[in-house]
Symmetry: C2
Subunit: 309 residues, 2 copies
């Protein structure tokens, strides 16, 4: 640790496909310091995980073994160690954590299991920790949690358990089409040449929410509209996002119509979902995703230190 | 030309985004020789078109200026010379061709204009030549032409004219998701690890044809089904194709339900579309796409040599 800072009692890690985030934490679950890197699962072989973690947290280690609690794709088959899925219905963190193979005696790493659903087939890794954190803060919650992102999760919470969930890979489809299809000449996901257009987003969203099949022909129409009418990239980008979130809302109607919905996620994306749901008469609450991730890791740390007898 | 072969009267060129194909032709529209390269529009700057063409057709040139008729993205704003779109309703090749800037005195290059539709916005370049070729062979055709491909076109033909059309970028979405999303671990578009599964294709197609919104959640389910049940790549690939063609058919219902449909395209993809339409009770006819492209270029050559007075 930096001089003058207290030493952490444990370290929490959120280790996804493309990112690695770590926090030095007190025994009470207070963050002392944070660090992150681009060393996600996708860029590592199995024996690369320990060095990648040490690169980030070495300054926080002393001689005694440090407890590290990790969630996310680090526990997948292609990760550091496979932490088998729990099956719904189940608590957010249902099974014991799995220890990762370690060479450095200063480390002790525990990986949180993901959750699976057999029918329809679905999986999550990382989101279960956010759900556990949210339910720790609001234990009586009944309703829907929506976690927007690369793979947006819609999760039904009943009696403190995860009872069902669905994934829409809306964020990834948006990224694929923006970067690798002919639409890369038409949209500007980075915001160049003009900003996001709320009306264009809302109109496109209503289009595929009421007529989801329109997605098939509206995609190329974005390109044609740009060629023929010079439509600015900001408008095309908002339309592409609206078309994709519209069909997602059409598919997940059972998860939001007449339901309590709480959105957990990065602020801008969560606001876009909130705006879309509000337009359907569903007032969604926003919850900070970093806070619920840390709290979820903290509940797993507590369970490890004080196992239920 | 190779020794002993007759000299061509003109050269036809199909110049798309990723490919360049050329044919040495007689005055009667008979192919003498063919050549192709990967020098598509996307890999060329404006002054690269003439050398790329000469690389391919130099053996066919003599001293006298050779007439070259070209169609496709070569006529786009990013192409060799912009050939402005004709607007529907119009004949397949409605406007005069545009001459490309040339330095080699042995060449004379004419580019066929594409077609645009203002509402809903849509464009085509290259397909208009195939349509012209088809209508030259079957002048009385009334009905629908479907040209499956990277950007599948559904085209309404009335009284010998193109009256309306829609584009679904189904092939490009399939390629994007197969190569650049998490589904690249799940599908095998190249056929590795087991073949195409007709039943899986038909089931997925019916799913999104009747409930197009299912596309939003069925994509990630392909991945989850692979992780949880070890579903083979051949089945997942057929399902991905079925989901995407299903929503395309849902969007283009007005173009095939109760219509005469002729499919123009590469054999395997056209057969997949034919199979899908047959399952909806629509018996589509298959037309060879190379033949209609050559015939379309031939009609443009004839019009140049014997302009209507």
């Amino acid at each position: 640790m930096m001089q003058g800072q207290p030493e952490p009692d444990w370290i929490g890690v959120d280790w996804g496909t493309t990112h690695l985030r770590a926090w030095a934490m007190t025994a009470d679950g207070v963050e002392l310091a944070g660090a992150d890197s681009g060393m996600g699962m996708a860029s590592l072989t199995r024996d690369g995980f320990e060095p990648a973690l040490l690169d980030l947290i070495d300054p926080w280690l002393s001689g005694a073994p440090m407890t590290v609690i990790a969630c996310g794709m680090v526990g997948s088959r292609q990760g550091w160690v496979e932490a088998p899925y729990s099956a719904v219905p189940c608590p957010a963190i249902a099974a014991a954590m799995v220890a990762a193979p370690i060479t450095d005696p200063r480390l002790e790493v525990h990986v949180i299991p993901g959750i699976k659903q057999l029918d329809p087939p679905d999986v999550m890794r990382g989101e279960e920790t956010q759900i556990a954190g949210f339910l720790h803060l609001d234990p009586g919650y009944n309703g829907i949690l929506c976690l927007p992102g690369t793979h947006t999760k819609w999760v039904r919470i009943s009696d403190g358990q995860v009872s069902a969930f669905r994934t829409a890979m809306t964020g990834e489809v948006f990224a694929c089409l923006s970067q690798h299809s002919v639409l890369r000449h038409t949209v500007a996901p980075d915001g160049r040449d003009g900003g996001w257009d709320d009306d264009a987003f809302a109109e496109a969203l209503n289009d595929t929410l009421s007529r989801p099949e329109h997605l098939a022909t509206r995609l190329f129409a974005l390109r044609a509209d740009h060629l023929l009418n010079g439509t600015p990239p900001g408008i095309s980008t908002a339309r592409l996002s609206g078309l994709l979130i519209g069909i997602e809302l059409a598919a997940s109607r059972g998860y939001w119509l007449g339901q309590n919905v709480t959105l957990i996620g990065a602020t801008r994306l969560a606001r876009i979902y909130a705006q879309a749901l509000a337009a359907q008469g569903v007032p969604a609450i926003l919850a900070d995703d970093s806070a619920v991730t840390q709290t979820g890791l903290f509940t797993a740390y507590q369970a490890l230190k004080e196992p239920v007898t």
